[in-house]
Symmetry: C2
Subunit: 199 residues, 2 copies
Amino acid sequence: MGKLITISREFGSGGRELGRNLAKKLGYAYYDKEIVKEIAAKTKLSEDYVNSIIEKRPFSMFPIHTGSSFQTMTNPIDDQNQLIFREQCNILKEMAVKSDCVIVGRCADYILSEKQPLRVFVYADMDYKIRRCMGNQSAEETLNTKEIKKKIQSLDRQRSQYYMFFSGQKWGDKEYYDLCINMSNIGMEAAVAAIAALV
Amino acid sequence: MGKLITISREFGSGGRELGRNLAKKLGYAYYDKEIVKEIAAKTKLSEDYVNSIIEKRPFSMFPIHTGSSFQTMTNPIDDQNQLIFREQCNILKEMAVKSDCVIVGRCADYILSEKQPLRVFVYADMDYKIRRCMGNQSAEETLNTKEIKKKIQSLDRQRSQYYMFFSGQKWGDKEYYDLCINMSNIGMEAAVAAIAALV
């Protein structure tokens, strides 16, 4: 079995960059947006649509978990959510056996729990995340700090709801992770080195 | 200013051992029970009494914080708690300037926050903590798993209350730490290496 690191992250904390740098340092494969592309290809849905679903809480109010029966679902939106989640499970499982890898987001820590990944949660103070998001804005984006804060809170709420919906677990609760790292006072290089020391 | 690592830990998680090993690896001073000894010497109270106070929520129901005024306190028990806490603050501040050091427990992360310590929280699954405590029992101790679980929960509740009382912060909430490390699946050596990579 390959070595596997899953990274869950608060929006703006730098978790994605950390994942990419970590994969590079360790010589592991790195999966993030590739997952959306593969789901889109397999389900014949657009990447934008898949992305909008897997970053948000699905519409149905019935929490489901991997391995549950889907027979009672009749709502076509629910069916599509289920389809996407099932493909997501399949693709993550395929990726995890291909090679050592770092997977960012997508409930990978829960979906691949049988493979005993090193489960990392990356977070930061709100001020740090706002500063980081401001610095990363493209020329077309003109959000002010108040709007960025709202965006961060909204995206994290969606991630939290999505994660709870599929896993029944509380997103960001340290109980469900092996390491939680606060990027507010820790440099990127040191954070990468610390996680690398664990594998 | 010396480098400073503070370690807060759930009972039975191995945080104390981690702190000791970390200090050894980095060549830092290690402070833990020494703090109780010094408080006892300075306050003329017994070590056992000091220990019983600083591991439990003080009796008073008025939360206080470092730097608050103590003038309105009249209860002698409260006064003694205050005295102990003030000595604890003084001693920790003296220790932190003497040399690079690792300090375990004693609200050091909060008391020494101005010195920007690397704040580590060490925790583990209940099963792991029970197994570890069972293995560490001396010949005279004969607690069964149920009794050990109760002891762990009780001691952690006391630590949490003590910390909340003096800091106004939630003990173990990842927001207040730079790194939270779950020892359930991570070996001692790897954990030490990961934290050492951050300083």
